[in-house]
């Protein structure tokens, strides 16, 4: 029987890790992810898991140790945020290029400077093209469910890629919500035994990791990586189908909310999608056909499926909780624009930057955006393509 609990997002992630019982975890504390590994090291100390816990001196070392443990043949997990992810930068590429299915929770937090510890997607967006799979989560339940599914996705023999599970710092990581835990045995059975691929510790079959690949083969390895990424969507859907059988909860590549017959729509990631859905309801009650799309699998980005889901709308606003300095538009906007670009008849697109450094995103913000979209849809004209909302002049 599933257990109904009231827990924080971090507590839910730590519980998923306890149930998975990875072989090795190497981590370094950073707010707001600290709480996950703090709880998990408690499980290690109390004998609740058999994990080899490696307390390292930095995130650079944390990911290095994860790379080594994964190449050795272990099931490996870690967690970080913001500057910690930034410090892992070079190892992120080594983990993905070496095809190591490491699972990392990323509790999304703003990047310095100025120093800020709150919810913001700048960290995850910076790492969006490092070859990792990224699953984004609206709430504690989704973070828990994504954690469990991510092991199956990353460790799939056709994939073998590292995966990040993203959730909003503080807003989700430190807020208590009602959610459901699966039984330990159900999780254990769902993720299955870890299957090794060319483990370094198999001394009967010696292998070498990290060879020098120069001009004659590097491009072929990159092409092969892209091919693997193109197979991820199907695996995510297959795993989601199996997950529905054990949980009753349905997941796809993205979630749509009242979108099928919508004329205007919001595209937004993670916790702010919940607030936005309420605003969509307010507009529906007024007889305005509003809808919402919330990406879940952000890398690899399902361009075709999202383009197909949005192409019938008249006007769409993409809301970014990260700016892209010098690129004009936010990162999510640019991906959505690419998704709808192939269609001759496509919605008008605007971009709003919101909630940086944990700035509150309120229902009235979403309602203002929807009111503007209704106007854009009616007139067919856009006044400003990119604006900041909730910022003081």
């Amino acid at each position: 029987m599933a257990r109904v609990v009231a827990v924080t997002g971090n507590e839910a992630v730590a519980e998923a890790m306890r149930q998975v019982n990875p072989d090795v975890c190497a981590a370094y504390p950073i707010t707001p992810a600290t709480d996950i590994m703090q709880r998990f090291t408690g499980f290690v100390s109390n004998g609740k898991v058999k994990t080899e816990m490696v307390l390292v001196e930095s995130e650079h070392s944390a990911m290095s140790a994860c790379v080594g443990a994964s190449a050795a043949g272990g099931r490996v997990a870690t967690a970080t945020s913001s500057q910690g992810l930034a410090l892992m930068w070079e190892e992120l590429f080594i983990a993905s290029g070496t095809r190591l299915p490491i699972i990392m929770t990323l509790v999304n937090r703003a990047l310095s400077a100025p120093l800020n510890i709150h919810g913001d997607h700048s960290d995850g967006m910076g790492a969006r093209d490092c070859g990792w799979i990224q699953l984004w989560s609206e709430n504690a339940q989704e973070a828990y469910d994504n954690m469990i599914q991510s092991f199956r996705i990353a460790e799939h023999m056709d994939i073998r890629m590292p995966a990040m599970v993203c959730l909003d710092g503080f807003i989700i990581s430190h807020s208590i919500e009602r959610m459901e835990y699966l039984d330990d045995a159900v999780v254990k059975n769902f993720i299955g035994e870890f299957k090794q691929l060319n483990p370094l510790l198999d001394i009967e079959h010696p292998v070498s990791y990290g060879p020098l690949i120069l001009t004659d083969l590097y491009m072929e390895y990159r092409r092969a990586h892209a091919e693997v990424m193109s197979k991820v969507s199907q695996v995510v859907l297959d795993v989601a189908q199996d997950f529905e059988k054990i949980s009753g909860r349905k997941y796809g590549l993205f979630e749509t909310y009242r979108l099928d017959d919508a004329e205007i729509g919001l595209v937004i990631l993670n916790s702010a999608a919940g607030t936005s859905k309420d605003a969509v309801d307010v507009f529906r009650d007024k007889g305005i056909k509003a809808g919402l799309l919330k990406p879940r699998l952000y890398r690899p980005f399902p361009y075709e499926e999202i383009g197909e889901a949005l192409k019938h709308l008249k006007a769409v606003c993409v809301l970014d909780r990260a700016d892209a300095f010098g690129a004009s538009y936010g990162p999510l906007f640019m991906d959505i624009a690419s998704g709808i670009y192939p269609y001759k008849d496509r919605p008008l697109l605007i971009n709003k930057i919101y909630g940086l450094g944990g700035r509150d995103y309120m229902p009235e913000h979403a309602e203002l955006v929807l009111a503007e979209l209704a106007e854009v849809a009616k007139t067919g004209r856009v006044k400003t393509f990119k604006e900041y909302i909730g910022v003081r002049e």
Partner: protein, 97 residues
């Protein structure tokens, strides 16, 4: 060997064949070629020990000919060679001369 296409690669560039570096012949990198002068050789085996590759053949504790498939021409063997009575047993000569 035909260059491999992207569909033929091992995941993560992992090398699963032990000792396969033997197949990678680096002799073409050489600009200077070591020549062994056997009458000046005292069989100290310094060249064999110092060679950063495996380009000095040895058998039964005796030095053999260079293996030019792997010798990159670094010249360490010639530098370390004590020779006999002031005469080097290894000299470096420019390739192609």
């Amino acid at each position: 060997m035909k260059p491999r296409g992207w569909k033929e690669l091992k995941p993560g560039a992992v090398v699963t064949e032990p000792g396969s570096a033997e197949k990678f012949k680096t002799g073409s990198w050489r600009a200077f070629r070591p020549r062994w002068i056997e009458e000046n050789c005292i069989q100290c085996m310094f060249c064999w020990a110092y060679c950063p590759d495996m380009a000095v053949r040895a058998k039964d504790g005796k030095r053999g000919e260079f293996n030019y498939d792997y010798c990159k021409g670094c010249g360490i063997c010639a530098l370390e060679c004590p020779g006999k009575k002031g005469k080097k047993a290894i000299v470096m000569e420019e390739e192609g001369k």
